[in-house]
């Protein structure tokens, strides 16, 4: 983990309440897809943890949802603004465990970390299938970006206004996969847990104090003892999770 200053180069709305922010700065601490950053915002005491969507040597792409005063404030930031960021936090996804045909399942604001993961898996000569689940047509984002990476992409909407009607689990039925990775809301996780046929990795969300393992604010119990979502997670293996 490093504390770094990043400059915003782009901050724009891409779907309902969803913003894409691109920043320039030193990303050399990132080692795995699924890691996150913790951002200091003006007038907010605690930092805000946001998953890393994509990065290269000098740029960082974040996609975040406006859910409260902190992210509302973030959405008003203009290019040129400098942010104090802790990078890179958490364990991230372990792609070595994946077979040749991994399934990636992103639900809503759980979609962003799937993007760099998908890129990494393709770079490892794997053939990922991606399911992106949203509530409605105006929530959909990044379908084309995943397609451009070369992945097989399915989109579901709960109200049927776009793509397959239903939940991500409805799209999972007819897909052959040998491993899965997922990030999204917990009700989605519980539904996946019921139908998933293989091992996999879940990326969890929790309210955090520090984001780097000091405060024990985001602890959870696992089959292998207590873990901190921020430091020992956010990614947990299917086999260790207590539902």
């Amino acid at each position: 983990m490093k504390q770094e200053l990043f400059t915003i180069t782009k901050n724009e709305k891409i779907a309902r309440d969803i913003y894409l922010m691109v920043l320039s700065g030193d990303t050399s601490d990132i080692v795995h897809p699924g890691q996150f950053v913790n951002i200091k915002l003006e007038d907010q005491y605690l930092r805000r943890p946001i998953s890393i969507c994509d990065y290269d040597d000098k740029t960082l792409t974040l996609i975040y949802k406006v859910v409260g005063v902190g992210t509302e404030k973030m959405s008003s930031y203009k290019p040129g603004k400098v942010l104090d960021i802790l990078i890179a936090l958490g364990n991230g996804f372990d792609t070595e465990k994946s077979g040749f045909s991994p399934l990636l399942i992103g639900g809503g604001v759980g979609v962003p970390p799937m993007y760099n993961l998908c890129k990494k898996l393709i770079s490892e000569s794997k053939q990922p299938t991606v399911i992106l689940g949203f509530n409605s047509r105006e929530d959909v984002f990044f379908e084309e970006e995943f397609k451009k990476l070369g992945a097989n992409v399915l989109v579901t909407t709960a109200d049927g206004s776009y793509g397959i009607r239903g939940f991500v689990t409805d799209a999972m039925k007819d897909i052959n996969y040998d491993y899965f990775f997922t990030c999204g809301p917990e009700p989605m996780f519980k539904a996946i847990e019921k139908v998933a046929k293989t091992s996999g990795q879940y990326s969890f969300e929790e309210r955090m104090g520090c984001g780097f393992g000091a405060c024990m604010g985001c602890s959870c119990k696992t089959k292998y003892g207590n873990k901190r979502i921020c430091k020992d997670g956010p990614v947990l293996l299917r086999e260790e999770i207590i539902w």
Binding site: M1, Q3, K40, Q44, Y45, L46, R47, G70, L86, E206, R207, M208, G209, C210, F212, G213, A214, C215, M216, G217, C218, S219, C220, K221, N226, K231
Partner: protein, 303 residues
């Protein structure tokens, strides 16, 4: 050159900066970021007789100039602290450390303190009396002079190292409680623990924290902490460790002017992992700015 060394119950520390219990783990998360030997010492994660998972999540809430936590004393228990945490700590920290201890009965306090007393790296005890007394109707030990004194006496009997009693600010008269601890043999007083607080989410219309209430800390409570340190300094002769919202070298000096011999840094470590190191580094320049040559000259200087 300025002098930042202070004497804390017979042990000289290089500076009065002490990361507070619960914000610094057992040190090694921070040792990955900087050499923690620059600190005066630190107070390790509140340790109990048995391992504790703590409270359900969410345990954290944002507040104006602060935060609420309701971790619930998650810790691996005293045996694991002795056998796993302290050996790991020795590899990254070569100074005496402060052992923060909690309990839910007098027996638990004495068991844990006795078990830790023989550990060579422990320099001081800091006994948290803000926990509820399960045999006393659930009221916190720190809410009455009698029960705070009872814990103090019991712990003093089983320990050879200086004992600081860490007081809760959620009381009507903190001075009488501090005085009772001094009379019961405490070597020093730490104050303040967090203030009880609550946040409610307008969208869900429910409490943000799973346990509903939690401890409010951060810069917002600094003036309350300064006031209580000032009041307790007038009433006791034993040294005081001041804490509550301290975020800068200026705050450290203000806390010492109120009466603190040493100063703990809490929530600031969580927002900025380098906060304690930066305060240590900034302290000499801030002392010079205010014409302070020796920190010992300013302890209680505002009285």
């Amino acid at each position: 050159m300025v002098n930042t060394k202070v004497n804390l119950s017979g042990i000289t520390i290089d500076n009065p900066i002490i990361p507070a219990s619960g914000t610094f783990g057992f040190g090694y998360e921070f040792a990955e970021l900087y050499d923690i030997n620059c600190l005066g010492t630190f107070s390790f994660k509140g340790t109990t007789k048995d391992p504790r998972f703590g409270n359900p999540t969410p345990r954290i809430a944002e507040c104006p100039m602060g935060m609420i936590n309701s971790v619930g004393l998650q810790n691996p228990g005293v045996e694991a602290v002795k056998n796993i945490e302290l050996p790991k700590l020795r590899e990254v920290f070569n100074k005496p450390v402060m052992a923060n201890v909690s309990g839910f009965s007098i027996d638990e306090y004495t068991y844990t303190c006795e078990a830790l007393d023989s550990e060579p790296q422990i320099g001081w005890f800091e006994v948290n009396v803000s926990c509820p007394n399960v045999h006393g109707g659930g009221m916190s030990f720190g809410t009455s002079p009698e029960s705070a004194a009872e814990v103090t006496k019991a712990v003093k009997k089983v320990t050879t190292k200086p004992v600081f009693i860490k007081l809760s600010p959620n009381v009507t008269d903190i001075v009488s409680i501090a005085k009772a601890c001094e009379d019961a043999g405490a070597d020093g007083i730490s104050l303040i623990n967090t203030l009880l607080g609550m946040r409610i989410d307008l969208k869900t219309k429910k409490c943000v924290i799973a346990n509903k209430m939690g401890g409010f800390s951060g810069p917002a409570i600094f003036p309350v902490a300064v006031r209580m340190v000032y009041q307790v300094y007038e009433a006791v002769k034993i040294p005081i460790i001041g804490m509550g919202g301290v975020s800068s070298a200026e705050d450290v000096i203000e806390m010492m002017l109120a009466g603190a011999t040493a100063v703990e840094i809490g929530a600031a470590n969580l927002v900025d992992p380098f906060a304690s190191r930066d305060i240590v580094n900034n302290l000499p320049a801030v002392m010079q700015k205010y014409g302070i040559k020796d920190l010992n000259d300013i302890i209680g200087g505002a009285h």
